[in-house]
Amino acid sequence: MNWGSFSAFLHMGGYAFYVWSSFGLSFLLLALELLLLSGRRRTLLKRLGQIQRLNASRGSK
C-alpha cells in the first residue's frame, strides 16, 4: 500500500491537480460517450417506430 492516509492519497505527492485531472476527465469522456450512445439509440428507435406506425396506417386505408 502506497498511502499513509486518505488525504495523502488525494494529495498525490503534490501532483494532485495533474493526476486527478487526467484520470477524471478521461473517465468523464468515456461516460459521456456511453450516455450519448444510449440517447442516440432511444431517439432512433422512437423515430423508426413512428415511421412504421405511419406506414401501417397508410397501408390500412
Binding site: 500500500m1 502506497n2 498511502w3 492519497f9 498525490m12 505527492g13 503534490g14 501532483y15 495533474y18 493526476v19 485531472s21 487526467s22 484520470f23 476527465l25 478521461s26 469522456l29 468515456l30 460517450e33 456511453l34 450512445l37 442516440r40 439509440r41 432512433l44 428507435l45 423508426l48 417506430g49 415511421i51 412504421q52
Partner: protein
C-alpha cells in the same frame, strides 16, 4: 463450410443479433478490468524514483495512445475491405470505430499535456511525437465529418475509406517519431526487442488498463454499429419485424 458461415455473419441482419449478444460480455469484462487496472495504478504500483506520483498518468496516457493508433489501423483495414469488396458491414464497422478512436486520441493528447506541464514545464511543444498524434486526431475528425457530409452512404463510405487509407501512413510516423527525431517525449514504454525496463507491477497495470480499453472499445463499437445498421437498413423487412418485437 466456414466460407458460408463467414458470408452469413457479413450480412448486417445476422450481425445485428450477434453483436447484441456479444455486448454485455465485453462491457462486463471492461468494467472489471478497469477496476483491477485502476487499483494497480494507484495502490500496487510503487512511486517512481524520478517523477514521484505524477508518473501515474502513464496508466491512462499510454493505453489511450496505443488505442488511438490500433483503432485507426483496424478502422483503415475495415474501410479498405469495404472499398475493395463492396461489403456494407465493413464500412459500417469503420464508421462505428471512428468516434471512439478520436476519443482515445484526444485523451492521449490532454493527459500528455497534464503530464508534460509538471515534468517538462510546458503544456505543449511542436515536436514530432505530439504533432503527429495531433494529426491523428484531425484524421479521425476528418473521417467523421467527411462521412457525415455526404448523404449517399455508398459514396460517403468510399470517400471515408480514402481518407482512412491515406492517413494510415501517419501511424508508423507516430510510433517511430521518438526514434527518428530529437524530442522531449520519452522513448517507447514497451519495446519488442528489449526486456521491459519498468517495474513489473507498473507494466502489469498498464497492460491491464490497455486490455480494459480494448474491451470497452469492442463493446462501444458493437453498440454503435447496431445503430448504424438500423439507420441504414430501416427499409428492410427484418428491421420492421424487429421493431414489431420491441413494441
Amino acid at each position: 463450410m466456414s466460407k458460408i458461415n463467414l458470408y452469413k455473419f457479413a450480412s448486417p441482419a445476422t450481425f445485428y443479433g450477434l453483436a447484441g449478444q456479444m455486448i454485455p460480455g465485453f462491457a462486463a469484462l471492461s468494467a472489471l478490468l478497469f477496476a483491477i487496472g485502476l487499483y494497480i495504478s494507484f495502490f500496487v504500483a510503487p512511486t517512481d524514483a524520478q517523477q514521484g506520483e505524477a508518473y501515474r498518468i502513464i496508466f491512462i496516457h499510454v493505453p489511450a495512445a496505443w488505442m488511438s493508433m490500433f483503432i485507426y489501423v483496424v478502422m483503415a483495414v475495415y474501410a479498405g475491405v469495404g472499398l475493395a469488396f463492396n461489403t456494407r458491414l465493413s464500412a459500417m464497422m469503420a464508421q462505428a470505430l471512428a468516434p471512439t478512436g478520436a476519443l482515445f486520441a484526444f485523451i492521449a493528447l490532454f493527459t500528455g499535456s497534464f503530464w508534460g506541464k509538471p515534468m517538462w514545464g510546458t503544456w505543449w511543444v511542436w515536436d514530432a511525437r505530439l504533432t503527429s498524434q495531433l494529426i491523428l486526431f484531425f484524421l479521425y475528425i476528418g473521417f467523421i465529418s467527411l462521412q457525415a457530409a455526404i448523404d449517399d452512404p455508398r459514396r460517403s463510405d468510399r470517400a471515408g475509406a480514402l481518407i482512412a487509407l491515406v492517413g494510415v501512413i501517419n501511424v508508423p510516423i507516430i510510433y517511430f517519431s521518438v526514434k527518428w527525431w530529437n524530442t522531449l517525449h520519452q522513448g517507447a514504454s514497451i519495446s519488442f526487442t528489449k526486456a521491459p525496463s519498468m517495474a513489473h507491477t507498473m507494466l502489469a497495470g498498464m497492460l491491464i488498463m490497455a486490455v480494459a480499453c480494448w474491451t470497452y472499445t469492442i463493446a462501444v463499437a458493437l453498440f454503435r454499429v447496431r445503430l448504424i445498421i438500423l439507420e441504414r437498413e430501416r427499409h428492410a423487412t427484418w428491421v420492421s419485424e424487429l421493431l414489431e418485437e420491441v413494441k
